[in-house]
Amino acid sequence: MIPLLACALFFVSCGKSSERLGNEALRVGDFDRAIKKFAEALDESPADRDARYGLALSYFGKAEAAEKINQRSLDLWTKAESEFRILSKIDNSAAKKMHSTVLFYLARATIAKDPQAKVLGILDESIALDSSNAFSFNLKALVLQGMGEVDEAKAIFIRILSEYPDFAPAYSNLGNLYWEAGQIEDAWDIWSMGVIQFPKNRHLKYWTKVAEDSLKNRVLEEGK
């Protein structure tokens, strides 16, 4: 009984070694090695859910690392997204939030490469996977704003701020939108709300000051 148990444990241990090593590599940020090990595990068992998730995360980590140092990351995001898509076929309940985030990054990298790229479909899918992904909402609003769909963009920013008042970028972006539309008072309202929420946010503080100054100048000019 004991030898049998030992043998069983040994074989289980051997079978899991690639995946285990992949996990270890992933944990310490050795994404290339993690990709290699998870790929080996998938060679043995392509439907291994954990190995697939590990491989997808490895590409995610590698792409994110590349982005941090301003390297091209579109291909890596594409691979990561591809792996998450396969993963969703193995286990459609798994890693939806992560997949949503990957789609956000993919959309952002796509726009970075080609500002005219049509990424709304990607962002909609991202939001469909994770309706709490404020980043995708935010990016979608920015894209719409860029396309001239200002009202739709504004509605999204307002929705973000109502649902996620601690999402700082939305204060800046909605303020910007008002500023672009010449609604300086509205812009000041939003930015100053943001400053109350995030007193240390330099960007919000700066633009609140700019809006204040602008309003003061306007009053002075009107007085003259």
Binding site: R27, N70, T101
Partner: protein
């Protein structure tokens, strides 16, 4: 050896002789045994011990085992609540004859199995009750107790049926009188006496003691004629013949019993019971001894047993821990799920730290999104400032 000693506990001394000390002890904590520890260093006769430990004979104390401790042999045998026939002599003639018949059956059984007692003497016959004698110390290779040894044994002959018959006769005489037929204070004196056994008229000697009636003396006389003979060939043919003669003698004695004889027998039986109780009480009251050192005493036995169990438990524990460690190692992989959550949290936190991009109509086509620095942000701010 260690295992046998380890099973022994609660040793109380029964008696100490010239060559050995006998203890009452417990085997495996509950079986009363007699432990005989020899004082001299000598080898064990493995064949003999094996024979006696693997055979059971009527009225012969069962041998459980034997071994050496520091070169000194010890035997462990069945414990009988009894007294030595040495202490119960002289005894009524009818009792003596009946006991001898029982012993004859035992010696005959040994002979049939190809063995001998070799040291038949009153000391080696224990009496449990009126008709239950037990032989102890079977298989002695030496000549046995000189007072009861056949003449040929003094000449170096090994035990035989004939020498056993002589010894049985000598034992019977002792039981009737309480003293050996062939006495003497030295070995040589005893030897001379034994060799001159035929010069003794045993019946006359017994008559001279004045204890036995003529009818009894007459009934016993044929026994002396067939047992206490100098030459083996002049003794009874075998144990069956002895048994037949004993049976005749028993019937004669029984038929001639007077009231006084019956009273004597009852008195003897009462004395036997009393001595057995007295002996057990004395043994119970004696301090516990550790003939093989304290490690082999009661506590050590318990300790050894405890230690064995501890070892087994420890082994089991080590095994379980090992299995758990292996399972832990297998399962202690950084769970991909956890890593994923961590990366998601880290990534979204990173996004929060990024300064938002301002999007204006002029720049929308140029740089919609991306990681921007404060410097970028400020430069855009400056542009806006100019616009306004």
């Amino acid at each position: 050896m260690t295992s046998l000693l380890g099973r022994i506990s609660e040793c109380h001394k029964i008696q100490s002789g010239g060559e050995a000390v006998v203890y009452r002890a417990k085997l495996d904590g509950n079986i009363l045994v007699a432990l005989k520890s020899y004082k001299e260093i000598r080898p064990l006769n493995a064949d003999l011990l094996s024979f006696f430990s693997s055979h059971q004979f009527p009225n012969v104390v069962k041998l459980f085992g034997a071994d050496l401790f520091k070169g000194r042999p010890f035997t462990i045998s069945e414990y009988i609540r009894s007294v030595s026939s040495l202490d119960m002599s002289p005894m009524p003639p009818l009792v003596a004859v009946r006991l001898l018949r029982e012993i004859t059956v035992s010696v005959s059984a040994l002979y049939a199995a190809g063995s001998f007692h070799g040291d038949l003497s009153p000391e080696n016959v224990l009496i449990k009750d009126y008709s239950s004698p037990y032989l102890v110390d079977c298989g002695i290779k030496g000549m046995g107790t000189p007072h009861f040894a056949a003449p040929e044994r003094f000449q170096g002959a090994g035990p035989s049926a004939k020498s056993e018959l002589f010894s049985l006769g000598a034992v019977l005489y002792f039981w009737l009188t309480g003293e050996p037929l062939c006495g003497g204070s030295t070995f040589e004196a005893i030897e001379t006496s034994v060799f001159k056994v035929e010069s003794l008229d045993v019946t006359l000697l017994l008559h001279g003691k004045g204890r036995l009636r003529p009818e009894v003396l007459n009934a016993l006389d044929p026994l002396w004629q067939g047992l206490l003979r100098r030459l083996p060939e002049n003794r009874f043919e075998d144990f069956e013949e002895l048994d037949e003669r004993l049976e005749i003698a028993e019937k004669c004695i029984a038929s001639e019993q007077a009231e006084k004889d019956l009273e004597e027998q009852e008195f003897w039986k009462a004395e036997l019971k009393s001595k057995i109780v007295e002996r057990e009480t004395r043994i119970d009251a004696s301090p516990e001894e550790f003939p093989f050192g304290k490690r082999c005493g009661t506590k050590s036995f318990v300790r050894d047993r405890f230690a064995r169990w501890m070892l087994v438990c420890l082994f089991g524990l080590v095994l379980i821990v090992s299995v758990l460690v292996v399972i832990f190692l297998i399962n202690d992989q950084p769970q991909v799920e956890d890593v994923g959550k961590s990366m998601l949290e880290s990534s979204r936190h990173l996004q929060m730290e990024e300064e938002p991009r301002s999007v204006n109509s002029e720049k929308a086509s140029g740089s919609i999104m991306g990681i921007i620095s404060d410097e970028d942000s400020l430069s855009e701010d400056e542009e806006r400032k100019e616009i306004k």
